[in-house]
Amino acid sequence: MVDLRAMTALGAHEPAVLTVGPLTITERFDIALASLAVRRGQDLTGAARAAGVPLPGPAQYQARAPYSAFWVTPEMWLVEAPFASHEEIAVHLKAAFGDAASVTEQTDAWVIFDLTAPDLALVLERLCNVDFRAAPEGYATRTVIDHLGCYLVKHGAGMARVYGPRSSAQSLLHAVEVAAASAL
């Protein structure tokens, strides 16, 4: 087993949980990520079904066990699974899809924050141009938060998961905290 000690994107050894008024920011350090892209002329549906990997349509997130996924670009998804069981998520997916797909490890490319608040929309409207109120549950989109390209997935009126560039984790967190204090 790996004997190197992991460090979170915020530079700690344990993921952060912070609150700003009614908003709770939970750093998710327990999610493994990989990109899954269709190779030309291939059809992944069979293998996906077999492996339990959802392949949702544009702007959608779909949860299954052990895999969940959201659409990022035509013929490409970001697939996530529990880190504990799938630290080697790319290996798992390669095994499942073989040469039909291109798979790339993405776990540490992102810092992931779960944002929860009764009226989360009031915070998000200060951060990005997503129409969070109108968006359906499971809406997944790329957006910009304070100059940072992020993915945002709506898990409910009061819950969103934000995937930001790992190296900018502190700047992203700061933006969320300031906006929350300002808005709530």
């Binding site: 544009p58 990022v72 670009t73 035509p74 989109t141 790329r142 957006t143 910009v144």
Partner: protein, 94 residues
């Protein structure tokens, strides 16, 4: 501006990066075309005051290159296509 992405619907143009005239799709073949052809391809533009087919890249979105038909006087957008579809329709392949 708002660009109606063929897959994602209306998106703020701020999410996109602009390249220019969609003619940039029509790159000559370097093994057959010469400097003159590439010079015209790389440097000369119609630059119309009116309808303009142009390339936008959804960098802060789904990374699709789009061909947007936009009026350069009114900024009205008439049509938005995936650049890949346009390229294929123009006979580009590998």
């Amino acid at each position: 501006m708002i660009i109606h992405h063929p897959i994602l619907g209306p998106r703020d143009a701020q999410e996109f990066v602009y390249l220019g005239d969609a003619g940039l799709i029509n790159r000559p073949d370097g093994m057959t075309a010469g400097i003159e052809a590439f010079h015209d391809y790389a440097y000369n533009r119609d630059n119309p005051a009116g309808e303009h087919r142009e390339l936008w890249y959804h960098e802060q979105g789904d990374r699709s290159w789009l061909v947007v038909t936009r009026n350069t006087v009114t900024h009205e957008i008439k049509k938005v296509e995936l650049a890949r579809d346009v390229a294929r329709a123009q006979g580009r392949s590998k």
